[in-house]
């Protein structure tokens, strides 16, 4: 008997543009024109008609060059940017009977609650995900406090546990982030993201800017967490090596459009779209 994987996220016709748009936009933008900006009205089509599905425990990679729209797509799913069109259907993996919810239509309060309870995000730049004026413990505690944890002893116990899980020395719980190295800061971000046991972990270029040995340790950690928690992850990277190590399926973006999607091995071994072929050959 075949078991169907539970759907967690279903993105439907998701689009985001910056500018008013005009009747000729579709004609002059996109991968064929190598530009996401309309030469007539100046509108930037950051993400156009994105469609994909993410299943429980799956790691989906989004790859593309700078300006291809992958981070815009990730930020729309992180509910930090409101899409102009489309739906982000979320299926609660912890409750089979629950109806799918369209995250795009939630009000600001519901979005904030959802982001805190169900989403975790790790940014390329730690200062985007961490408050550098708070201690490491304080940063990890934020999501717990938002989830109404009101016992300092219990909060600190949970932080120490998360620090151990993410290979951080728990005795440095009260140190300030600027005393940590780049790789450690990424692990602090991961500990913070995991603190609310999210249903979906978003990773935005997590290993960019780290040296190779540190990069390998962070990737090992992410892989271990994914394996232990059966965590559903959406991984954005311009590095095909990272995508290859973590993602089972991959979508390739160029100029705001998804140009190819499929199993990561298939995309890397047998790329179909000329842009994907270029990406793969550049990596090799």
């Amino acid at each position: 008997m075949t078991h169907l994987a539970t759907k967690v996220l279903h993105v439907e016709h998701l689009s985001k543009q910056y500018g008013p748009g005009c009747a000729r936009c579709a004609e002059y933008t996109g991968p064929h024109h190598h530009s996401s900006q309309c030469p007539i009205c100046g509108t930037v089509h950051a993400c156009v008609d994105a469609n994909f599905t993410l299943h429980q425990g799956e790691v989906l990679g989004i790859v593309g060059e700078s300006g291809s729209g992958k981070s815009t797509l990730l930020q729309m799913i992180n509910l930090a940017i409101a899409p102009d069109h489309g739906h982000i259907w979320y299926h609660e993996p912890r409750d089979d009977a629950a109806q799918a919810v369209d995250l795009a239509t939630m009000n600001a309060f519901a979005k904030r609650t959802f982001r805190n309870d169900r989403l975790g995000i790790v940014y390329q730049r730690p200062e985007l995900g961490l408050n550098m004026r708070f201690t490491v413990g304080g940063n990890v505690a934020e999501k717990l406090l938002l989830a109404n944890w009101r016992h300092v002893g219990n909060i600190r116990e949970r932080i120490r546990d998360l620090m151990q899980q993410t290979e951080l020395p728990p005795e440095r719980i009260d140190d300030e982030p600027h005393t940590f190295s780049g790789g450690m800061l990424q692990r602090v971000q991961i500990a913070k993201a995991l603190s609310s046991s999210p249903s979906l972990l978003l990773l935005d270029e997590v290993t960019s800017g780290l040296d190779l040995s540190v990069q390998a340790r962070v990737l090992d950690l992410i892989r271990r967490i994914q394996w232990e928690h059966r965590m559903t992850m959406l991984l954005v990277s311009h590095d095909l090596g990272v995508i290859k190590q973590l993602a089972r399926r991959t979508i390739v973006m160029k100029n705001g459009h998804i140009v190819e999607s499929g199993l990561t091995d298939q995309i890397l071994e047998d790329p179909q779209h000329p842009y994907t072929q270029l990406l793969v050959s550049s990596a090799l």
Partner: protein, 296 residues
């Protein structure tokens, strides 16, 4: 030479009627949404911003000729600021003034809530130096406004957590953050922690005015005002065992201390404590004197 009356020199309560109407409208809005900061067009007054212009504008907007006014600063009726503000209102509104909390219909205050429990027919107007409790964690006003709108107080809780981690306890001496009606985070102004519980489910209307920051907020009667605290680190009011007022002997009031110089003493003097609310202290002393006289 003809004598000019105050009413001929100034509009009643100094500011013009349209401005008073605007302040009253914003005050009503603040009462309707407890703890929410309402922007208002703060007027120029003959005192500097930061010296109580916010509270003063509220008092000027709500005061009526039949009102009795009390003005205190740090609990004291006779401090320079309190006397100046009282004189200004007396001169421009011609209202009766008092130092007795019980006899006042409006009490304007800075840094204290009177010790005597206030009634439903009284209004307490507080002068506010800094409005937003989120300024400690979010200096950008626009982002802080969004945080209030979404009740996004996680960072404020981290600030409380950090206070415990760094100091071993909730070491916030004044301006203690509170949740009003379970919705808005509010700054209690520089009142000591001692006064914070007086805001909870009180009979009185509390109006907060910040002239420099141009904001009004309010705690209407019977509104829940809960200080931020943890299950293992509770909110506590100031209390030093054995400390009592040197005048009235009170141990159940907020006390201030000062050093009495005694050249002959080994330490050059000694510390004494006295009630911060001077009129309440005087009333207690008088009551004790009367009681002693009656007994003798």
């Amino acid at each position: 030479m003809t004598q000019t009356s105050p009413s001929q020199l100034y509009n009643f309560a100094f500011i013009d009627e349209d401005s008073k109407r605007e302040v009253r409208r914003m005050t009503l809005k603040a009462v309707a949404i407890p703890g929410h900061q309402i922007p208002f067009a703060s007027r120029d007054l003959p005192i500097a911003r930061g010296w109580g212009t916010g509270g003063l504008q509220i008092t000027m907007a709500i005061i009526q000729p039949e009102d009795t006014l009390k003005v205190i600063d740090q609990g004291d009726d006779e401090s320079v600021n309190a006397v100046n503000l009282r004189r200004l209102l007396q001169r421009t509104a011609g209202v009766a003034t008092t130092t007795d909390t019980d006899a006042a219909s409006i009490v304007q205050t800075r840094h204290r809530i009177p010790e005597e429990a206030m009634r439903a027919d009284q209004i307490l107007v507080l002068q506010v130096p800094m409005v937003d409790p989120l300024r400690w964690v979010e200096p950008n006003l626009e982002r802080a406004t969004v945080m209030h709108g979404e009740a996004d107080y996680g960072r404020m809780w981290v600030y409380m957590y950090e206070s415990v981690v760094k100091a071993g306890d909730l070491r916030i001496a004044s301006q203690y953050p509170v949740m009003v009606a379970g919705r808005y985070l509010m700054d209690t102004t520089p009142i000591p922690r001692w006064d914070v519980p007086k805001l909870h489910m009180a009979e009185t209307l509390f109006l907060f005015g910040a002239g420099r920051e141009k904001r009004i907020y309010a705690v209407p009667p019977h509104t829940s005002v809960v200080p931020l605290e943890f299950a293992d680190y509770r909110f506590k009011v100031e209390y030093t065992p054995g400390q009592q007022c040197r005048r009235c002997g009170a141990t159940d009031t907020f006390l201030t201390s000062h050093f009495v110089v005694q050249p002959d003493a080994p330490n050059g003097g000694h510390w004494v404590s006295s009630c911060s609310d001077s009129s309440y202290c005087t009333k207690r002393v008088l009551a004790q004197t009367v009681a002693t006289e009656e007994i003798s």
